[in-house]
Every structure is written in C-alpha cells, then in structure tokens.
C-alpha cells in the first residue's frame, strides 16, 4: 500500500500501524508529533491507528529556529 509520508510516496506492507511507521523512519529518539490526514494523533493512539492506502502522514519534531 502507498502512503505519503512527509511529502514522499512510500510503499508499506498492509495493516501497518502508525507506531511501526514512525519506528521505521525515525533515525533517533527525538520526540515526534504525528499527523494523519491533517489530524493530530496522540502518542497513546499510535499503535491502534492502522494506516490505509492513500493516507497522508506528517512526522515533525523541534529544530533550532529564530
């Protein structure tokens, strides 16, 4: 199934949950906030949130900024 993650189309195995998706793409332990199709998904709900074809996922974290 295809999912748009941080603006890029990615292919995933079906029935993937948000928690696994984050783990696949996070390179470190930086705290991440997730948004699925424009809606913020709180951390405790990541595991129960199953992704589906065409979903749009945004993963953001803090960086230096002025």
């Amino acid at each position: 199934m295809n999912i748009t993650l941080n603006g890029k189309l990615k292919e995933f195995l079906p029935a993937l949950n948000l928690k696994s998706a984050v783990e696949q793409f996070r390179k470190d332990k930086t705290p991440v906030v997730a948004e699925l199709n424009g809606e913020i998904i709180k951390l405790p709900r990541w595991e129960e949130t199953t992704l589906k074809e065409g979903d749009i996922v945004e993963l953001v974290s803090f960086v230096g900024g002025g």
Partner: protein
C-alpha cells in the same frame, strides 16, 4: 560604611502574567554547534528562546535541540514555514501536542525574497490561537493599525521587525517601532529580526522597547556565547538609558528639523464628514 543605592528601579518584564528576569530573547536557529546554544543561553541569562517545527529527517540522525536548552527556559515555538493563517494554526497545534507548552511566535511569510511578515494573515492566526488558549506573540511589520488589531485579537506581546530577517541591518524601522511603543500600552513590544550588533539592541531598548529577540547575529558569531552576553549587556544598558529618560532624539521645534511626530501636509479643515447643522 557607604551604602550603595540602586540608581534605577525597573518594572518587571511580564508576558501573559509570567515574569522574566531578562529582556533579551534568543533564537536557536543556524548555530553551527548545538552546545553553543546552551552556552549562549547561559552567558546571556535569557529566559525565553525560540525553536521551530519541521518534518523529521528520515535519512540521517538529527540532534534534538531541546536537549541543549536548560530547564526553566520558556520555549517559544515559531510558526516559520507558514504561508497563511491556516498553516500557522496547524503548526501551533502540533507544537502544543509535543508537550512543550503553548507559547507561540506567529510568523506568517509568503514572500521568499524579503521574508516580510503578512500582517493580515498574522491577525487572523492570532485571533484563532488566542481563542484556543495559546500565548500568542505575533511577529509583524511595524504598522500601528495591525498592532492594535493584534492586541484586540489577544496577542500577549507584539513583535515588530527591526529590519529584514537575518539581514543584520539593525533598527531600520525605528520610527515606526517608536510609534508602536508610544501607542500600544496593553502589551509588551519586542523588537525581533535584523538586529545585527549589540548597539542595535541597545538602540531598540533606548527608545522604550520592552525586549529584543536576536538569532542570526549570535549564531553566526565566532564566539556565540560571548556575543550573546554582549547583546544581553547592551539590552540592559539600553533599558537603563530608557528608564533614565534618554529618548535619544529631542523633539524638534523647527519645521526643517526631523521630528518624531507627523505633521499634515494637506489642510486639516474642510473635511467631507464635518457637519455643523446648528442654525
């Protein structure tokens, strides 16, 4: 024994009911080495720092900026990258979800050449986020009507630009900032953007700004911590000068000298809306 008296008494610097011991605010972008962020915070004594939100890097390890910000510092997340009010609101909600508080510096920019803030969209975002309980500090182009609208919309402070972001040009907008300082009493005025030297920061404080925010000039310095301290000292010096009554430019009395007040060049009589219906 001689008793040393404090020569100048200052009022506390308060934003949204919270008191801060420093009137110097630091941006954390563009530092070459992250430990310099910590060094600059410590050396300057700043109590408020800005951070940004971005997509995570899925290719390489990313340093967590929050690890370099000591405890007790108020985090002010900016909405940089937002091109309109809707995007700014989205970024603010994501920031709040991260658990790092609800202080937001609204930054709405859709001009890539001059990076000028969009005042209209900034007012809209301020209205929405204030109603949602955010502490909102909008970055804006120094325009009096906008500043008033921002205050009405619930802004906790107003942040006019000194000059273009990252330009180090100093206080180019001085006379317009002076008007905001003169007219806006309800919230602090914090000069943000373009201050490239401690003397610029002092100049902003001398005319009565409540605080300044600096990033580029410090992040790009050879010794960022030393430079942050220099800015912080300049802020204190400028503040003290302001409290002592230095207004840095006398009010002119002749028509050929510059004056900080406007003087109409068209007649101030015979307006269309003036009616005198008495007989």
């Amino acid at each position: 024994m001689k008793i040393i008296q404090k020569t100048v008494e200052d009022t506390p610097f308060i934003i949204a009911g919270k008191t801060f011991t420093s009137r110097f605010m630091l941006g954390t972008g563009k530092f070459k080495n992250k430990p310099d962020v910590t060094g600059s915070i410590t050396a300057s004594g700043t109590k408020i720092v800005t951070v940004a939100l971005r997509r995570i890097d899925t290719q390489r390890h990313q340093e967590n900026i929050l690890e370099y910000i000591p405890e007790g510092i108020t985090l002010l997340t900016n909405t940089s990258g937002a091109r309109n009010a809707e995007e700014a609101v989205r970024i603010a909600r994501l920031a709040k979800e991260s658990g790092c508080g609800n202080w937001i510096k609204i930054e709405v920019i859709n001009d890539s050449k001059y990076l000028l803030p969009d005042n209209t969209e900034t007012i809209k975002a301020t209205e929405i986020l204030s109603s949602e309980g955010f502490i909102v500090l909008p970055y804006m182009f120094p325009d009096l009507y906008t500043a008033r609208a921002l205050v009405k919309a619930g802004a906790a402070a107003v942040m006019p630009l000194g000059s273009l972001i990252g330009s180090n040009q100093g206080l180019k907008a001085k006379e317009f900032i002076r008007i905001l300082i003169d007219e806006i009493d309800e919230t602090p005025i914090i000069v943000d953007a373009g201050l490239g030297a401690p003397s610029h920061a002092a100049e902003a404080m001398e005319i009565g700004a409540d605080a300044v925010l600096v990033n580029t000039a410090i992040a790009g310095a050879e010794n960022p911590a030393g430079c942050a301290e220099a800015f912080s000292l300049a802020v204190r010096a400028g503040r003290q000068a302001y409290l002592c009554g230095d207004r840095s430019r006398p009010v002119s009395t002749t028509s050929t000298q510059p004056t900080p007040k406007a003087n109409a060049s068209s007649p101030l009589t015979g307006f269309l809306y003036e009616n005198d219906l008495s007989s």
